[in-house]
Amino acid sequence: METKNVLVIGGGIAGMTTAFELAEAGLNVHLVEKSGFLGGHAIQYTCKATAECLQCGACSVEKMLKNVIESGNITIHLSTEVETIERSGGYALTLKKSAAYIDPAKCTNCGVCYEKYKGTGIIAQGYSKNNFPLYAICPEKLNNDAAALKSVCPEGAISISDAPSFCQISVDAVIIASGFAPFDARRKGTYGYSRFPNVVNGLDLERIKRQYGYLARPSDGQPAKKIAFIQCVGSRDEQLGNLWCSQVCCPYALRTAASVKHKNPDLDLTVFYMDIQNTGKSFPVFYETCKDNIRFIRSIPVDIFPIENDCLNIRLFDESEGTPAMESFDLVVLSTGIMPNPDNQKLSEQMAASLDTDGFFKHADGLDRTATAAEGVFIAGTAQGPKTIAASMVQAGQAASGVLKYLGVTK
């Protein structure tokens, strides 16, 4: 049988897993990623182990990224988007590659460009050693320094042209794995995100952990001692119309809290929550140990305001006491939810695959959440709805299985 070609849109954990499974099954896979790096949001997360692994799945992303780059059947298109798509038996696509990129054929990962432009945001560094090139150009930060930037690279790997380049490919099936957008916490104005330096979100916290190795306060780099986690920021929010649980934030907050507490037992940790969601099969046991080490308060705070020394006062209505309460913290972590990727709208129109009322891709079948109403178009991961790393991987495998069946490789 002639080798089939497939397109996977999105290089996060779901896209990578689908691509890898299809490559393992002998298909030619085009993996298109808009940013300069594979790994998506999931690769940005750090290990949450205490004395033992807490199954956050971050290392599975690392492993899958390695699988993808080592697979011989996957063509990786970084800094690339789908420009046009046409049905023609299969699908004929035009891919648009950013005008500015680092050529993997020439890059040696020397890091000269990154060092030279440190602090400007023009050159970003990948999160994983398996990101190749390890550096990428952020076109939106690029002003008039194109010529200067080009000359920085000793290998001549930096390619900047006036216009994006286009290439045509034909595929037999498409998998949409466009991922999610983290909730923009500025929309919850009373929490002061981006106004108060020591109010951060989960991804900020991951960057802080990477940079300092401990939970530092962005305001002064000093170790935070008293930390609050606020759950359901942007999720389960009727006022915003976000009627979904993001499914990942309770596991994230609990694992993070357990992990940092293990490393530094002096930390004073509080989780403000509506309802704690499960982490896995050992949740009942894990939750009990968490309760021994972490304070849980069933209330979503009303607002946050700064006090001296860049500390923060959290005001809330304490439901167990039935009274208003106020308490100060060094650092506040907002568990921001999973929102539909704004690109979904355009992708939906291109692929003729519809979105649900929330803006995630709609599955056509009640049971199989990877099938869309469009022929030969499948969905995987958080493009379809909130999911953990593990759940994204399971669904990605199912999407791969669906593609194989659609192409007649399996029955």
């Binding site: 309770c250 009942p284 439901e319 006491e321 199989d368």
Partner: protein, 545 residues
């Protein structure tokens, strides 16, 4: 016979029949999928298979329809009333013995798929309640709501129904969905009222938050409590009381019906299946540990897969996703029935005294014996635990022979370094610390000038001789880096490594070598900065001597 000579690629034949254990929805879907794809299936069923199933989805093919489809799909050998009593063999060549309708039946299979169901029971007793017409389980309420007479009984009498959820156990989205669905149905009936006393609302599943809102919009009232309310049952009369801190008073209600939550647990027979199939029993009696290397449907044994309720509390949609993933795995393992495999570990049959240490310590059950120990190339994961444990040194890994390791250690110890820099040899598991160490270099973290990283397949391969050799050859410090507990791809490699380090400490003490020259650490592949910190700390400690 040297290991190099033995290191041959061989073509093996794999039995294409797949045995599916469990005949509920998931098991039958697995059987159907496999049969459609040309894999003859043995479907081992029990009488009550499918007794509990995910009722949250409507418009589902009935169990009977699926049964007929399974029967129509050709090569499916259904063993009814059957229990697995013995399993031997390796991937591609398992021999399974069942007791089926009181007869002993032996079957050959290339792979095994375990698809046991979840089971459910009412938790009425935990609340101290006695089941009666006004104290019902969630399933009983669902049957009422599904029947015309039941609907009439509730609807016409405009009943008030109270739910108790999440106090007898933590609960999960699958049970929550059923509560929310029932609540929605009740409040849609004119004049009926639903009160839900709930601990944590488990809404981490598509659509549940919206369903929760729908119910509330239609008048359902939720009391979110940390502890169960007091429920007093006096014959048919019910009184539920709890203290509301906001109004500083007790709130008391007398519903017509109290609906008590149910448990949802792993099948009891998982325990014996784990023992017979030699697969690890995970938390709460599920047949998969929470080791991320097992995702999505793998067990510690190659060729034995677990799907649906056998591995996790999950409904039909997710269970069918497991079935799809299982098909990918079976195709990769068995393919068309023939496959070329390279031995990762080989036994020197002249040295082997068939003590069976290897058989006992192999976490993947890849070792069996004829007159000597034999390692199945299809099952072996190449961790090397057996090679390090073998008292006769009769096992060698083809990619990491002891001879090669010894010379790597010698080279590392002899490597040139800055005059004053202590030499540190780090034995790093290829799945975790080796990745972290490589990343630490690439990300330009400060690393000791005298650091030498030696890649090992698994920390379980670190022989005590490696450690002692490294010190003898001139290393100032030795560090063994394994995966975190629960994250070892070979389950126990890190444990074996830890034991050997402790053993080495005792030996060092006897010889008089300071203990701080040897260290054990656990890491994940994405912990480059931690890697750097650990080795730098060690350098500092050694330099202080």
């Amino acid at each position: 016979m040297t290991t190099k000579q033995q290191n041959q690629v061989e073509k093996i034949h794999l039995e294409t029949t797949v045995a599916v254990i469990g005949g509920g929805y998931t098991g039958m879907a697995a059987a159907k999928t496999l049969a459609q794809n040309g894999y003859p299936v043995i479907l081992a069923r029990q009488e009550n298979d499918g007794a509990w199933h995910d009722t949250s989805l409507t418009g589902l093919d009935g169990l009977k329809t699926l049964e007929n489809q399974v029967a129509d799909n050709g090569p499916i050998d259904i063993l009814s009333q059957s229990t697995l009593i013995e399993a031997v063999g390796v991937p591609g060549d398992f021999t399974l013995t069942f007791m089926s309708e009181d007869r002993r039946v032996e079957k050959k299979a290339g792979a095994v798929v375990v698809a046991t169901d979840l089971s459910s029971s009412p938790l009425t007793f935990i609340y101290g309640l006695t089941p009666c017409a006004s104290v019902v389980s969630l399933s009983e309420l669902e049957s009422l709501l599904a029947s015309e007479t039941g609907q009439k009984e509730i609807g016409d009498k405009k009943k008030t129904i109270a739910f108790l959820v999440g106090f007898a156990h933590e609960g999960n989205p699958l049970l929550m969905q059923r509560v929310l669905e029932s609540v929605r149905k009740i409040v849609e009936m004119d004049g009926c009222t639903a009160y839900v006393y709930v601990n944590n609302l488990k809404v981490a599943e598509d659509g549940l938050e919206r369903l929760y809102k729908q119910g509330r919009d239609n008048g359902a009232i939720y009391f979110k409590l940390q502890t169960a309310p007091t429920v007093i049952q006096n014959n048919g009369d019910l009184r539920i009381t709890f203290y509301d801190p906001v109004i500083r008073n007790n709130i008391e209600l007398s519903p017509d019906i109290v609906v008590v939550e149910e448990s949802l647990v792993a099948d009891q027979q998982n325990i014996s299946l784990a023992e017979i199939l030699r697969i690890d029993l995970g938390p709460a009696g599920f047949l998969q540990k929470e080791n991320v290397h097992r995702l999505p449907v793998n067990t510690n044994r190659e060729g034995i897969f677990v799907v649906g309720g056998g591995r996790e509390i999950q409904g039909l949609s997710k269970s069918l996703a497991d079935v799809d993933n299982m098909l990918l795995q079976v195709r990769q393992l068995i393919g068309g029935g023939e496959k070329t495999v390279a031995a990762k570990a080989v036994v020197d049959r002249e040295k082997c005294t068939i003590c069976l240490t290897c058989y006992r310590c192999c976490p993947h059950a890849a070792i069996y014996w004829d007159d000597k120990a034999v390692i199945s190339p299809a099952a072996c994961q190449g961790c090397g635990i057996c090679a390090s444990e073998c008292p006769m040194d009769a096992i060698q890994l083809t990619d990491f022979t002891d001879t090669e390791m010894t010379s790597r250690i010698r080279e590392a110890a002899a490597a040139e370094t800055k005059a004053a820099a202590p030499k540190i040899i780090a034995f790093c598991c290829q799945n975790s610390a080796f990745e972290a160490g490589t990343a630490a270099g690439l990300f330009h973290y400060d690393l000791p000038a005298g650091l030498q990283i030696i890649k090992i397949p698994c920390a379980g391969k670190v022989d005590i001789n490696y450690i002692l050799n490294a010190l003898v050859e001139g290393a100032d410090g030795v560090i063994v880096m394994a995966c975190h507990t629960g994250n070892c791809k070979s389950e126990s490699g890190n444990t074996y490594a830890k034991w050997r380090i402790n053993d080495a400490y005792r030996k060092l003490e006897q010889i008089g070598i300071p203990k701080n020259r040897l260290e054990f650490a656990t890491l994940a592949s994405n912990m480059a900065s931690d890697f750097a910190r650990i080795v730098i700390d060690m350098e500092k400690r050694i330099s202080q001597k």
